[in-house]
């Protein structure tokens, strides 16, 4: 499919994972892609793979904590390509040192909460804010935000992270309501557990625990998200807006006891 001929996409968090897979996917469908990441060398690696496949892209450093950095990204995109058809807000603060302190709320420093919200919620809002004038001028566009299953169900770790993702879910609905009639759509993709090859090798045992609670035979792959992003960003998604779309192997759609009781049902089926 070549749904992106002549279109320009800005994607954040592109050094690997979902962002990199989506950048490669949109480029393979004809888009010019701007790869933003705080890790410039990481984004450059993704860019090289896109160029090697004949795709068009630009790499730009992005620090979501700084509005100037966000403005510079959007300005650089317009200077190079003149328009923005798709904005994929995929970057988030997932640093290990933040994650480990995002735990029991009675012991959480407000600085941890503020830092997570500054990057995930405020940063995403500013990316949208600075992109909207261009999309309004063009008469339309598609904004896609990566949220998380953590915003839909409770967990133990990462309360601040999850709450900041819930803010993104609601922001999505407001952007859709405010700018929909101007032809701008806004949706969320909400991943389940998506693992890269290296994660599969390094955390094999732990991943089995999560896999048991997904309904699918295997955990997610970044390409699974990229496929949905590619639909939402294209004209195939023109009637879809204000949605939170889980691409999560159904982990949020069943009672938590399903994995434990499945054996009993299988036994019943085997006997009958």
């Amino acid at each position: 499919m070549r749904r992106y001929e002549g279109k320009v996409a800005v994607i954040s968090g592109t050094k690997g994972g979902i962002g990199a897979a989506s950048a490669r996917r949109l480029a393979s469908e004809g888009a010019s892609v701007v790869l933003a990441d705080i890790d410039l060398a990481g984004a450059e690696t993704t860019a090289e793979s896109i160029r090697a496949s004949g795709g068009e892209c630009l790499v730009q450093r992005l620090d979501l904590a700084e509005e100037d950095s966000i403005k510079a990204l959007i300005d650089a995109t317009i200077a190079r390509y003149g328009r923005i058809d798709v904005l994929f807000n995929n970057a988030a603060d997932t640093r290990g040192e933040t994650m480990m302190k995002d735990a029991a709320i009675e012991f959480m420093d407000a600085d941890i909460w503020d830092g997570v919200f500054r990057i995930n919620a405020r940063g995403t809002m500013l990316m949208i804010k600075h992109t909207l004038p261009h999309m309004v001028r063009q008469g339309g566009g598609s904004i896609i935000n990566t949220s998380s299953g953590a915003s839909l169900r409770a967990d133990l770790f990462r309360a601040a992270y999850a709450s900041s993702k819930a803010a993104i879910n609601t922001l999505t609905e407001y952007v859709a309501a405010q700018y929909g009639k101007k032809g701008i759509r806004c949706n969320v993709v909400s991943p389940g557990l998506v693992v890269t090859e290296s994660a599969r090798e390094n955390q094999g045992h732990n991943l089995d625990l999560y896999l048991a609670h997904h309904l699918t035979p295997r955990l997610g792959d970044p390409d699974d998200l990229a496929a949905m992003v590619a639909l939402l960003g294209s004209d195939d998604g023109r009637f879809i807006t204000a949605q939170i779309i889980p691409v999560d192997g159904g982990i949020s759609t069943h009672f938590p006891h399903v994995a434990e009781t499945r054996g009993g049902v299988d036994g019943y089926k085997a006997k009958n």
């Binding site: 909207l132 004038p133 309004v136 609905e173 859709a176 309501a177 405010q178 700018y179 929909g180 009639k181 101007k182 032809g183 759509r185 389940g192 998506v194 997904h214 309904l215 699918t216 035979p217 955990l219 997610g220 792959d221 390409d223 699974d224 496929a227 949905m228 639909l231 195939d236 998604g237 023109r238 009637f239 879809i240 807006t241 204000a242 949605q243 779309i245 889980p246 691409v247 999560d248 192997g249 159904g250 949020s252 759609t253 069943h254 399903v258 499945r262 049902v265």
Partner: protein
């Protein structure tokens, strides 16, 4: 090579609208498609059109209210193509005689309630039940059910229709939980207002009244649903299951008063910051 090359799909209610558009889309991506409809002539026309465009399609008579007819559609498709990977349960029992009598609860006859549930809920359950052995055997089965915004939000009429579609939403969760590990995904596509060509041409006032509550500039087209069904039916949808996907222009996601307040909002933005946006 399309995403569905080598796959066999059943589309019910394929004689017109979302079913017809989806049958065309699946065929254009390489699938062999069996089109079931109670209006066989309509399904034949779509199937012939698909074949004229180089696709592989057959049309079969199908009555969602009749268990034997449902079983025959599945069996005949598997007999013809030898296998089955995709089941799109899109048919619903919506003749005017039913819809016009699907009234507010106190006035709704038990006959209309029973008939609606017999077709929409029981019929969809039976199609899934009969298709599951072939879908499991394929190693990558995909079930997609057409529901409705009427299952998510209350309305002044069509009580039985809305409740029967809610049954389909919940059935979807159970099938996803029960057969996911056997490689079968099960999802719902939930349309907003997707008017027929006839309504677009002849009921402009109705279109306008409904459109103002959708967040998009236009109401939906059958092709908008077909695009999502094609993703869900292919390997690209293998990590999507148990979902109610609303392809509804956001009609179910914003407060009802948004349409009434939009002009005031735009005026506020313009007077405070200059031109809106």
């Amino acid at each position: 090579m399309g995403r569905l090359t080598g796959r066999t799909a059943i589309v019910t209610g394929a004689g017109m609208g979302i079913g017809a558009a989806t049958a065309r889309r699946l065929a254009s991506e390489g699938a062999q498609v069996a089109l079931g409809d109670i209006n066989l002539a309509g399904a034949e026309r779509v199937a012939a059109d698909i074949r004229d465009n180089g696709g592989d399609a057959i049309a079969l008579h199908f009555d969602l209210g009749d268990a034997d007819s449902i079983k025959k559609l599945i069996d005949d498709t598997v007999a013809h193509y030898g296998k089955l990977e995709v089941l799109f349960n899109n048919a619903a029992d919506t003749p005017p005689a039913v819809l016009e009598n699907d009234l507010p609860a106190m006035d709704l006859s038990v006959e209309i309630w029973d008939r609606t549930f017999n077709s929409n809920a029981r019929g969809t359950f039976l199609a899934i039940k009969y298709a599951l052995p072939a879908l499991i055997a394929s190693g990558r089965g995909a079930i997609i059910n057409t529901s409705s915004g009427a299952a998510l939000l209350g309305d002044v009429a069509r009580t039985a229709y809305g409740a029967s579609k809610a049954a389909i939403n919940t059935l979807t969760l159970y099938v996803a939980a029960q057969y996911g590990k056997e490689g079968v995904t099960c999802n719902v596509v939930s349309p907003g207002m997707v008017p027929t060509e006839n309504s677009r041409a002849n009921q402009p006032e109705m279109i306008k009244a409904v459109l103002r509550h959708h967040l998009t500039p236009e109401l939906g087209y059958p092709e908008d649903l077909a695009a999502m069904v094609a993703l869900l039916a292919s390997d690209e949808g293998r990590f999507v299951t148990g979902q109610i996907l609303r392809i509804d222009g956001g009609v179910s996601k914003a407060f009802a008063h948004v349409a009434d307040n939009r002009a005031q909002f735009e005026q506020h933005v313009a007077s405070t910051w200059g031109s809106a946006g």
